[in-house]
Amino acid sequence: MIRARLYSSLTVLFVLLVWEVAARLIHSVRDVIASPTLILVQYWTGADLYVPHVLATVRSAAFGFVIGASFAVAAAILFCRFPAVEGAFRGVNIALFAMPPIVVGPVLAIVFNGDLPQIILAALVVYFPAMAAALVGLRDIDPRLLDVIRTYGGGSNAVMRFVRLRSALPAILAGLRIAAPLSVLGAILGEFGSGVRWGLGSFLLGSLGDADPARLLGIGFAATAIAMLGYGFFAWIGRRTTGATVAVTIAPDRSPDQVILWTEYSGASRAALFVMAFLLPFLLWWLILQVSHISPIIAPGPMETLHYLTAGPESVDARASLLAALAQTLPLAGLGLVCGLAAAFVVASLTVVRPAVANAILPVAMLLQSMPLVALVPLVMLLFGRDTAASVVMAVLVVFFPAYVMLAQGFALVPHAARELVEVYGGSKSRELALVSIPYAASYLFAAAKLVAPRALLGVMVAEWLLSGRGLGNLLNSSRGLLDYDMVWAGAVISILISVAAYEAVGGIERLLR
């Protein structure tokens, strides 16, 4: 353990050294990537800028995290106690899982002022992973304990009070560990949308034009550092509170299908829940606007948005610009998804052939998985420019890491005996890979695809918004600038629907092939 830590510290030092030397001596590198010392120097000289920007983002992320995590745990308890409620909220949960947060930011900025849009977006981004982890933890209890409680006449409330809440604590903390870095991402994406003065998102937007490598990378590292601090804080709490009773496990990311139980329902009640699940998101949208008395001019409801896109005076133009934007965005997102998944599968299958390589990559991937994807934007821009290539690379990057982590877990779960069987008959490693490991891990490919399909769209849209000025990301950004409220809402809804459709499509393909 200590030796492993020593090795990884030495590796990090070595990488830093090579980076420093290369960035100082090689011209082509120097123009693109600043050396570590240069980045440190600009932190020092730019401290008066960094401090308020960082503080603003930390504040929004922290408030959003507390709100989102509180809702998540409360919802998980409600869903666990009353499974039908969870069935009804399926649509809301999938929408919150799949929504590209960058499209929600402008909508929130229309309705709310000051720090509220960033805080709410951070809360929305935190909700699903925290809820999913808590729900799995609450459900997954020792069935014998259920018998013990029931033998003394205890009902569902007693099981919740004496068993579920405490036994879910490690899972809840693991969920918060994933959610903490996401709250930073949510706050930064919210800053893009609201255009506030302070915050790392605003800092990044303002600095892209100068293209100063040291400053851009500095902002990226600052965002990453905040996210990592959040992750580390909950990892530490998790070890302290649960170390005595339960072994700490790695925190898996989950897609809705890994959480929602549909098998419990059948026939009419299942159909009713389906209808309810579909309608509830729109009903909530309408209800929130009704209750908050916001003018329908800046905040149109579901019917107004449908009218705007289908029958209103601007409907022809609106449809045309949306379709043109989608035609630019969707192919790139699809390409990024396929490339990212394929790369993740190939690298994960190395676990079998070259375990040492995999052992070296997995911790890095876990780390990068919790890195806010906007922190990648400067690096991508400096390396790949501001065009189509940058969009695809962004999509590949946001797809690769979570997919790799999930697939590596899949390969790790291949039964040892099955693998040794091939070995006993003299089969080579590659033979074993083809006969046992790949067929076995293929089921994880779908789980990974469901997890990352919505993220591919988000990756492309972030690149379009910040770098290329094309496609759906740009359409939303420019509509926001032109105060075209109808288009901001319509674009956001369409993006969320496409993300949900992509998620459901992967599930459909999976069912078809099985």
Partner: protein, 268 residues
């Protein structure tokens, strides 16, 4: 061979009455009849063991008594009450093969759990809890967590927990099934001592012939497909029964008798 000798304890009242109980589970392949018209009466203060091959429904029968399953046909009554009414008064104690302790609670707080579920004040029963921990031989471990105990010690905690409400009916589902034979024999003696110190009727599921012969006043032999009772055999040995009994010829004779009953049921 159905023997109706008087029991070791004085009461002759039926504590548990199972009348024509049937239970079928629906599985994906085909329905499985776990129990077919089972009738059994257990006298107050007696120790009854249910023995049989896996799939004979002995655990299902115990779960029906605990009210954890409902019978398709027939009635289960505990002192003329339904299991649900009976257990709501804390009259039932239960221990499983898996001790099923809450890993975050100390021994003392695990033993107190049934009281909390029943909505009783734990502070009023502190002495009782400490006495039980002493009775099961865990003095000094009251503040230990389950993770710090051995398998046998955890099973003792589960038995103390089963006794904390002063139950009139103690249900034991293969309580020592996960322990090795040496530890199991010493736990059998411990259980006898604990049971004799607390006036309860006990119903134990086991798949060990000598455990049944050593502990029970009456052994109910069951068989599978469909699950049913094939024989009821009284065990004549006086209590307390010592470790020497395991080596006695008359003990082996009883074990042979039980084995024969299990075999003859299987050949039907």
């Amino acid at each position: 061979m159905v023997d109706e000798q008087p029991f070791a304890h004085p009461h002759e009242l039926a504590d548990l009455s199972i009348e024509g109980v049937s239970k079928t589970f629906r599985t994906r392949a085909q329905p499985v009849q776990a129990l077919s018209s089972v009738t059994l009466k257990v006298k107050r203060g007696s120790f009854v063991a249910l023995i049989g091959p896996s799939g004979c429904g002995k655990s299902t029968l115990l779960r029906l008594v605990a009210g954890l399953e409902e019978p398709d046909q027939g009635v289960v009554l505990l002192r003329n009450e339904t299991p649900r009414a009976f257990r709501a008064r804390g009259e039932l104690g239960i221990a499983f093969q898996d001790p099923a302790l809450l890993p975050w609670r100390t021994v003392r707080r695990n033993v107190a759990l049934p009281l909390q579920v029943l909505g009783r004040k734990v502070s009023a029963h502190r002495e009782r809890i400490d006495d039980l921990i002493e009775l099961v031989g865990l003095t000094g471990y009251a503040d230990a967590l389950p993770g710090q105990l051995s398998g046998g010690m955890r099973q003792r905690v589960a038995i103390a927990r089963a006794l904390v409400t002063n139950p009139s009916m103690l249900l034991l589902d293969e309580p020592f099934g996960a322990l090795d034979q040496i530890l199991r024999r010493s736990m059998n003696q411990e259980l006898q001592r604990i049971w004799m110190a607390s006036p309860t009727t006990a119903l134990m599921v086991t798949h060990s012939i000598d455990e049944a012969a050593f502990l029970a006043d009456q052994v109910v032999v069951m068989n599978a497909a469909p699950g049913r009772i094939v024989d009821k055999i009284s065990i004549p040995f006086s209590r307390p029964r010592g470790a020497a009994l395991f080596a006695a010829p008359e003990f082996h004779a009883v074990c042979d008798q039980l084995a024969a009953a299990l075999d003859s049921g299987g050949s039907r």
